[in-house]
């Protein structure tokens, strides 16, 4: 258990145009932007698209360091991608380290592909940086809403997500309490090889699961006592409404994306 439990996810609280933007518009723009990245076939255009990152960070009022942090789990793959291209692309010889030959084309490809990877990750992170998981859930329910016609349980899935997000902190502190209680009885959760450690988790897992299922039962009872009876006709406290600003963002965003994609055929 570490500090991540306190601030779940990437969300950076601030009051900005991106934070107040309709989460559905954000999701759609992000998907369009990320798809557009795969249409770019030119290093210069890729670099130009990269300039959007500081622009978006400024608009979102998220510190640059916070944005860059999203790349951290990917650092190893980014560096690997770069060097594999540098050394394994055939072309004019640039320099040699032992049996490895770096080429000019390799350097270009390395920059191009690691930039592509980095930009996809950074652009997609702007959604999770500026949207709470609960807002994201509402957006997913709304976007997939038409699938209800095909008898897919869209509303139920969204409600399950909301319940899960609500109970993660509760169950996390419960797990910590049980761990402390078992440690006081002499349990050891930290030593031994992987299978021994897994086995030592049994005294944690059984009380945790049993109390979690008891909680689920109480929750269901409470929901019915309050008259919950499925998605049909249910009302909400926060209703997603498209505002003029959302439309402006959507049109402006799609125009930029069309430009990025269009360059491929224009040049």
């Amino acid at each position: 258990m570490n500090g991540r439990s306190l601030a779940l996810g990437q969300y950076y609280p601030a009051r900005s145009a991106l934070h107040t933007l309709d989460p559905r518009v954000k999701l759609l723009l992000m998907l369009a932007l990320v798809t557009a990245i795969f249409f770019i076939n030119n290093l210069a255009v890729m670099v130009a698209a990269g300039l959007l990152v500081p622009v978006l960070a400024t608009v979102a009022k998220v510190p640059y360091s916070w944005v860059i942090r999203g790349l951290r789990p990917l650092l190893f793959i980014l560096i690997l991608t770069f060097f594999i291209h540098v050394f394994f692309t055939p072309g004019a010889r640039l320099a040699a380290i032992g049996p490895l030959t770096a080429t000019r084309a390799g350097l270009r490809n390395g920059a191009f592909y690691s930039l592509r990877l980095g930009l996809v990750v950074l652009f997609s992170s702007f959604v999770t940086l500026t949207t709470t998981p609960v807002q994201l859930t509402d957006a997913i329910e709304s976007i997939f809403g038409p699938l209800k016609k095909f008898r897919l349980p869209v509303h139920e899935v969204a409600l399950m997500m909301t319940i899960a997000l609500r109970f993660i902190p509760t169950l996390l502190s419960e797990a910590e309490t049980i761990m402390q209680a078992q440690k006081a009885r002499g349990a050891d959760f930290e030593s031994g090889h992987i299978f021994k450690r897994a086995k030592s988790f049994v005294p944690l897992l059984i009380p945790l699961f049993i109390s979690a299922f008891r909680r689920a039962d109480e929750l269901a009872l409470a929901m019915e006592a309050r008259g919950y009876a499925g998605g049909e006709g249910r009302t909400r406290l926060h209703v997603l409404k498209v505002r003029a600003a959302d439309v402006v963002w959507l049109i402006g965003g799609l125009a930029v994306i069309a430009l990025v994609v269009g360059v491929r055929w224009a040049v």
């Binding site: 570490n2 109970f167 979690a212 929750l219 019915e224």
Partner: protein, 190 residues
């Protein structure tokens, strides 16, 4: 945890009753909590955690339908908490689809330890397949032409998936036994 305490009153058109919604939601929360406690970190990224355990448990306890649903929901929640996005197809394969497939374990009835092992391996294998193809797409989009993405994806995804799946077999069996004791009967299936 007695049978039919809640959920039986729901008479909506939806075939998922209130208790099922609550159980899936709580199981997904359990998965997210267990994911925060990594058992073992692999050098090349990827970690072995018990996040599949609640989905396996639900698969054997309530059947494959709810477990697949729980897997899909956990996929979305996992993405909302800790996103890793490098390609639109990878997003679907690595999150909702991969964890949804874990629920397939429930098609095997958990009547013995062997059956539990078979079901668990089935679910793990199905999830591996999704990550495997996602890895192939990833390497095909970012690696130089001529490098084989198939082998690397199999090795990378196989390493942590094998450990994560095998660990769940005794644990999910222990949980099923414990729930049997608490309820004083065999696990109920809808």
């Amino acid at each position: 945890m007695k049978e039919g305490d809640a959920g039986t009153m729901a008479s909506g058109k939806s075939s998922i009753d209130v208790r099922a919604i609550a159980e899936v939601g709580i199981c997904v929360a359990l998965a997210a909590v267990l994911n925060l406690v990594p058992l073992f970190k692999l050098p090349q990224g990827g970690s072995v955690s018990l996040d599949m355990l609640p989905i396996f448990f639900l698969a054997f306890y309530r059947g494959p339908r709810l477990a697949i649903l729980a897997g899909v929901v956990y996929g979305f929640v996992d993405y909302a908490i800790d996103p890793f996005f490098v390609h639109p197809a990878q997003l679907i394969l690595d999150y909702p689809l991969a964890f949804g497939l874990v629920g397939l374990a429930g098609f095997v009835r958990p009547t013995s330890l062997i059956k539990v092992a078979v079901g668990t391996i089935l679910g793990g294998l199905a999830r591996f397949t999704a990550h495997f193809f996602s890895g192939v797409i990833f390497f095909a989009s970012y690696a130089p032409k001529g490098q084989s993405p198939w082998l690397y994806s199999a090795v990378y995804n196989g390493s942590y998936m094998l450990a994560s799946t095998l660990i769940c077999i005794p644990l999910v069996y222990a949980l099923l036994q414990a729930f049997k004791q608490v309820e004083g009967g065999s696990p109920s299936r809808p």
